[in-house]
Amino acid sequence: MNYTFDFKAVIDSWDYLLQGAWLTVQLSIGAMVLGLIVAILCALGKTSGPKPVRWVINAYIEVVRNTPFLVQIFLIFFGLPTMGIRLSPDLAALIAMVINVGAYATEIIRAGIESIQKGQIEAGLALGLRPLQVFRYIVIKPALRTVYPALTSQFILLMLSSSVVSAISADELTSVANNIQSQTFRSFEIYIVVTGIYLALAMMFSALFAGIYKLAFAYDTDRR
């Protein structure tokens, strides 16, 4: 092995890398929040909507889950402009991520909603709560507690898969790495550092989520 490592190129563009990492975090959080809204609506439609609605939602979920994320990005970024909708790479990336995570999260949330026993809902209605109140106090909070672990690991998966949006040159971490790579040719050094940044982000968020779980959901629900 007669390769000399040279991390100068990486160190010189440190702030550029941090900007990329910041956009990765922003994209992931933005996509997760919007994706959750999509998922809650779809999960409601799937559990209590009329048949055609259920059918459409099922089709959406199956299509997203059985095609690669990269192809979904290409369809949105290259396909939509031919129909007159022009998107910046960052916006196309965000939309693709929302659509993708929305489908996965729908199934998670649906499982959470179905974990609420019918008797609880009936009890709520019998106490005179309006359906929206029942949903808010009796369905969503315990359901959130059930789905929280799955959703947080979905978030980390989303953040890691966001590196794929570099294929359309959104300005996130992997794209930044690609840019530095094409200017300096220190490929291995750059990608190993960027991989380390992703790993650090993933571990940071895991720790953060574990902390939030302790604070928000550590109440006892096992009294039956």
């Binding site: 092995m1 007669n2 390769y3 199956e62 299509v63 889950r65 059985n66 095609t67 690669p68 994320f69 990269l70 192809v71 979904q72 290409f74 369809l75 290259f78 396909g79 402009p81 031919t82 129909m83 980390i156 890691l160 898969s161 966001s162 590196s163 794929v164 570099s166 294929a167 992997t174 490929s187 291995f188 990608y191 190993i192 960027v194 991989t195 992703y198 790993l199 993933a202 571990m203």
Partner: protein, 217 residues
């Protein structure tokens, strides 16, 4: 020069599916072989071995697959090897799949009741025989549905090989799109072809899971 999307372009996409399938098959066989070792290490009695396997899994599950492919691709150059995109993709996906399968199968091995381990060792079986004749045959039953489910993820992951320049289905789509400039049609067909490969596996996995859930109830 812009070509129209015709029968030849469609055939080109369909024939590119064989590379997606070949890459998936290699990554699955390689990933299963290494993954079994990882799963055994992860359930080992020796703490250092267990820790090493945990680290391996966390490393691959905590970093993007795309970065892993880049590192294999460019890392080979560092070591003075000249890996072509095909070999780099196969190696990268194998390593990635081994971590995921290792973690899935760990759960399956641990799902075998403790009494089975104790009974087997009480009968005088040592570790190899205990695993080979008692634990693994029972773990395999639990492992089939999630492993089939993982195959879907693996087939989808092979699309990332397009980014390091291996011509499988997604890359073929890019090539055809560059020539015809009909992205919606081209990537739509690419998506349909992936769907045709993945959906049957998804359905099979869900069905096996239901059957297993019924059998253990």
């Amino acid at each position: 020069m812009i070509r129209a999307f015709g029968y030849n372009e469609f055939l080109f996409l369909v024939s590119a599916m064989q590379w997606t399938l070949a890459l998936s098959a290699i990554a699955f066989v390689g990933g299963a072989t290494v993954g079994l070792v990882i799963a055994l290490a992860r359930t080992s009695d020796i703490k250092a071995v267990r820790l090493a396997a945990t680290g391996y899994i966390q490393l691959f599950q905590g970093t993007p697959l795309l970065m892993q492919l880049f590192l294999v691709f460019f890392g080979a150059t560092v070591l003075g090897l000249d890996l072509n995109p095909w070999a780099a993709a196969a190696l990268g996906l194998t390593l990635n799949a081994s971590a995921f399968l290792g973690e899935i199968w760990r759960g399956c091995i641990q799902a075998v009741p403790r009494g089975q381990w104790e009974a087997a060792s009480a009968l005088g079986l040592r570790y190899p025989g205990l695993m080979r004749y008692v634990i693994l045959p029972q773990a395999v039953k639990v492992a089939v549905p999630p492993t089939v489910g993982f195959l879907v993820q693996l087939i989808k992951s092979t699309s990332l090989a397009a980014i390091i320049g291996f011509t499988e289905l997604t890359r073929a789509g890019q090539i055809v799109n560059n020539a015809t400039f009909q992205p919606f049609l081209v990537f739509g067909i690419v998506a349909v072809l992936y769907f045709l490969m993945c959906w049957p596996l998804s359905l099979l996995s869900a069905r096996l899971e239901r059957r297993y859930a019924l059998a253990t109830r």
